[in-house]
């Protein structure tokens, strides 16, 4: 089946098997490997991307279901000048990543969270990131980073 999407502002059009998951389409057809896969039950959120501005676990969606959509992956978050997005900066400043495998999905989920709740409480940040697992940080510094990004008011997806 044919799928036409925009990924990080670049139009893409490919023939894919109907069963192709969006995450495999992004990684293996479009060739953007920043989005990672950590499970097969939509539990871990490592594959989180933005589809039309909303965070989606890209393993829960078929590529053909995204037809016509605008997709943003971690590679598309930094500015065209290479300047990191404020959420990426906040993650670095607060040491909110260690191995970095969950990080792309976590950052995308956090960007989406602040878009919906620009001034969340700590509890709201924790609830908002419930679908994303990190095995390294214990979440403490991830929560700090999201609260920090919110406090600077500089995050808009």
């Amino acid at each position: 089946m044919k799928v036409s999407v925009t990924v990080n502002g670049v139009p893409q059009e490919h023939e894919v098997e109907p069963r192709t998951l969006l995450v495999y389409y992004i990684r293996e057809v479009v060739g953007l490997t920043g989005t990672n896969i950590g499970c097969d039950t939509s539990s871990c959120g490592a594959c989180t991307v933005l589809v039309d501005g909303e965070s989606v676990k890209s393993c829960t969606m078929l590529a053909v279901q995204a037809d016509g959509a605008e997709i943003t992956t971690i590679e598309g978050l930094a500015g065209s000048d290479g300047q990191m997005h404020p959420m990426q900066e906040a993650f670095r400043e607060k040491h909110a990543l260690q191995c970095g495998y969950c990080t792309p999905g976590m950052v995308m989920a956090a960007v989406s969270l602040l878009k919906e709740h620009p001034h969340p409480t700590e509890a709201e940040v924790r609830e908002g990131l419930e679908g994303n697992l990190c095995r390294c940080t214990g979440y403490h510094n991830i929560v700090e980073a999201v609260l920090h990004a919110a406090s600077t008011g500089s995050v808009s997806a």
Binding site: D40, T41, S43, L97, Q98, Y101, R135, C136, G138, N141
Partner: protein, 769 residues
């Protein structure tokens, strides 16, 4: 300004944050095929037949191998006579054990074809727990053993006389839950065997360790075998094991003359990646009326799973070595035995044998406090080894404690948690039936880290216990550090650069750290056992000082002074007392490659120094953790409300990274205490094969942490650093469980096994008293 001790941001982060990291599955080689395992659906069975014809006929399938196809290859490295086969041969011994491997053009085709491999089994009785494996007449996994016990140390001195004469005695049976390490990146590898030899990419913690074993396995000389460890999505000790795919992918690549990749799914990871913990302890303790420990007798039974692993066999050795924790116990009698079961093999998981020891002794202390009606803080203080008693020889020759200040750590903990007020609140809540219960738990833990002195890692199959560091000053005065350390989230590129910047006085921004490629880095050991800062970090200092010593000779030559009069200035070299006579680092570095511009006695390239750093002893990080839990009286719902963490890892290179290590370990510890536990049914069928069943916690329900620190440097390296990678996972479980037991102590509860689930608590709350 010294960078050691500064909260420096990580060099690793920009790549990881922008999607530019490269994990194994991100690597795409032309013509790459994918292999998928066909795993056993039986825990213990004879393989009657394997029919691969349908799978082989499926379009896109390149090969289907069974045990018969690898008969000319050795088994996985393991215990002689008990090695795990590459593919199950004749008998399967745990659910998930690979029986066949399918290779196809792409992963979907391979997965489709794997379902077309038809295997007929003749089930055998399964032993899915230690209890079942040790029953008289139990089914035997390995005939050569004649039973299921692989090794039994027995008691040397059994401590029974001391127990007999102790004024008071207590006993405790602990079942310590089997945990799945669950890095978010499962196992993956990619093999490319061409005319020039083999290149193997793998998500692993010890590249040379793997290179040497793979090379030996195939009889391939080590120069033609290259292991590349790219970015690694977490390891936690589970990526040091010689699992079949690490040998099958190269064998298939050689046979098919194509690159072959393997990427585990999470469901496969939960049954194939080696598990951790899985011990039972039989504990007896003798003490006096004031709570002084007199004798501890413990027998550790280690579940090895289906195939005993070299590291797995060593886990109870570490547990028994650390059994006394931070306490003076006049008599410790410890024994262990290793037992096979029809379950996933067990090996290292963050802490590897030490969390079990800390959990046992910290539970014992609380049991004594409860029996005597004493405050658990007081019982700890009465038994502590004192700061002036180091080095302290414990009951184990392995464990000569280097340094510590246990009373100071506990005092600091009691201070930051405002213990007296917290205790009053717990008591108030207990009297108010409408309020949830609160409980306070302590853990004053001690662990063995900084692996290690010569001979220590060799016992686990490693080439040595040193770590390699090579510093190569570049012609422009920047520096590259190559190391056998193989970090996977620890931030070693940052901490090593901090140490080097201090001793080389080359700017942090002009120092890069490279690792993870056996064709480039000197022979190394790897990242495990909280060793990289105390061993590798010390190596960075040693190599830096050697580089500076030579650089000063070049600078002296330029400045026409004596090397002894040359000093580092932060951006170059100067003659002591004559600040105007300077030469920049870049000039000295450039000259180090130009023999005509160097002093006699030095050779070109002399600012290239390799060190194989040894240390004389283990290090012993310690700490005091406090935990506050809240329990709903109606549902048994339990949660950690607050957690206070006082760590002592000696000198800290980067406090931000040290805290990060502690937080991550603590959450793994909380998870072991409350949520996680690999479950098997009595037939050995795993019940926790997805992240919906195996509860790796997410952010809600976890607390923010209160961090604090004391600092007693280790005398075993000149930095004074002890290592901190495993501290949290050692210290947290007893703090959490002690808090739960504290909350329920008015009901007469003395112990509950991990994970302490709401169901278990609800049963206690509902049971008639």
């Amino acid at each position: 300004m010294s960078l050691v001790g500064a909260r420096v941001q990580r060099k690793e982060d920009p790549n990881l944050l922008t999607g530019r990291a490269q994990f194994v599955d991100d690597i795409n080689l032309a013509g790459c095929a994918t292999m998928v395992f066909v795993g056993s659906t039986e825990a213990h069975a004879r393989i009657v037949s394997v029919d691969t014809r349908q799978a082989l006929g499926h379009p896109g399938v390149l090969a289907v191998w069974t045990a018969a196809d690898v008969a000319d290859l050795p088994p996985c490295p393991g215990l002689p006579g008990l090695e795990r086969p590459l593919l199950a041969s004749g008998v399967v011994r745990f659910v998930g054990e690979p029986v066949a491997v399918v290779v196809a053009d792409d992963r979907c085709t391979a997965a489709d074809a794997a379902e077309m491999v038809h295997i007929e089994y003749e089930p055998l009785p399964a032993v899915a727990s230690l209890g079942a494996a040790l029953e008289p007449g139990a089914a035997v996994l390995h005939e050569v053993l004649g039973g299921n016990v692989v090794f039994d140390s027995g008691f040397g001195d059994d401590g029974l006389a001391e127990l007999e004469s102790a004024p008071r005695r207590a006993s405790l049976h602990l079942a310590i839950n089997r945990c799945a390490p669950s890095p978010i990146e499962p196992n993956a590898c990619l093999a490319d065997w061409g005319p020039a030899g083999l290149t193997l990419w793998a998500t692993f913690q010890a590249p040379h360790h793997l290179r040497n074993r793979v090379s030996e396995f195939f009889g391939l000389s080590q120069d033609r075998c290259r292991v590349i460890v790219p970015d690694v999505g977490g390891g936690f000790g589970a990526k040091i094991n010689f699992v079949p795919e690490l040998f099958l992918a190269p064998a298939l690549s050689r046979a098919l003359q194509r690159p072959v990749r393997y990427t585990q799914t999470r469901s496969e990871c939960l049954v194939l990646m080696y598990h951790g913990r899985a011990q039972e302890h039989d504990v007896e303790v003798g003490f006096d009326d004031d709570g002084h420990l007199q004798v501890l007798r413990v027998r550790v039974t280690q579940d090895q799973g289906a195939y005993p692993d070299g590291t797995g066999m060593g886990l109870p050795v570490l547990t028994t070595a650390m059994a006394a924790g931070c306490y003076k116990i006049p008599k410790v009698a410890a024994a262990w035995r290793n037992v096979v079961t029809n379950a996933t093999p067990v090996a290292a998981y963050r802490g590897a044998g030490r969390p079990e020891a800390a959990y046992m002794i910290e539970r014992v202390i609380d049991l004594i406090a409860d029996r005597l009606g004493l405050d658990p803080v007081e019982v700890r203080k009465r038994n502590f080894i004192q700061p002036d008693e180091f080095p302290y020889a414990s009951h184990s020759p392995l464990a000569v404690y280097d340094s510590g200040n246990f009373p100071a750590a506990l005092d600091e903990l009691v201070r930051i948690m405002d213990y007296a007020n917290l205790r009053a609140e717990c008591d108030r809540r207990r009297q108010d039936p409408s309020a949830p219960l609160l409980g306070i738990g302590f853990s004053t833990w001690l662990e063995i880290a900084g692996f290690g002195p010569p001979g220590s890692l060799e016992g686990f199959g490693h080439l040595g216990s040193w770590e390699s560091v090579q510093i190569r000053v570049q012609p422009d005065g920047s520096a590259i550090i190559y190391t056998g350390a193989s970090p996977h989230g620890q931030g070693t590129e940052t901490t090593f650069a901090q140490i080097a910047a201090d001793f080389l006085e080359i700017p942090f921004e002009r120092i890069s750290v490279r690792h993870g490629d056996t064709a480039v880095i000197p022979q190394g050991i790897g990242t495990m056992g909280s060793r990289i800062t105390p061993v590798g970090g010390e190596g960075v200092k040693t190599a830096s000082l050697a580089v500076v010593e030579r650089a000063k000779q070049i600078a002296a030559h330029v400045l026409e002074a004596e090397p002894a009069d040359i000093e580092l200035t932060g951006d170059g070299f100067a003659v002591r007392g004559v600040p105007s006579r300077t030469v920049p680092w870049s000039d000295v570095a450039f000259r180090s490659f130009r023999p005509l511009e160097m002093p006699p006695g030095l050779d070109p390239g002399c600012l290239d120094v390799t060190v194989f750093q040894q240390v004389p002893n283990f290090s012993f990080p310690s700490g005091a953790y406090g935990c506050l839990v809240e329990i709903d009286r109606e549902t048994g719902q339990v949660g950690v409300v607050d957690m206070w963490l006082v760590d002592d890892c000696g000198t800290v290179i980067n406090p931000m990274l040290a805290e990060g290590q502690v937080h991550g370990g603590v959450v793994q510890g909380i998870a072991q205490a409350l949520y996680e536990g690999v479950q098997y049914d009595p037939d050995g069928v795993p019940l926790t094969t997805t992240l919906l069943d195996y509860l790796v916690p997410s952010a809600p329900g976890l607390p923010a942490f209160h961090d604090s620190r004391i600092n007693t440097p280790t005398p075993n390296n000149s930095l004074g650093a002890k290592g901190i990678g495993e501290s949290g996972s050692v210290g947290a479980p007893p703090a959490v469980v002690n808090a739960v037991i504290d909350a329920l102590s008015h009901l007469g509860v003395e112990h509950m096994d991990m994970p302490v689930t709401p169901q278990k608590i609800w049963s206690v709350l509902r049971s008639p008293r």
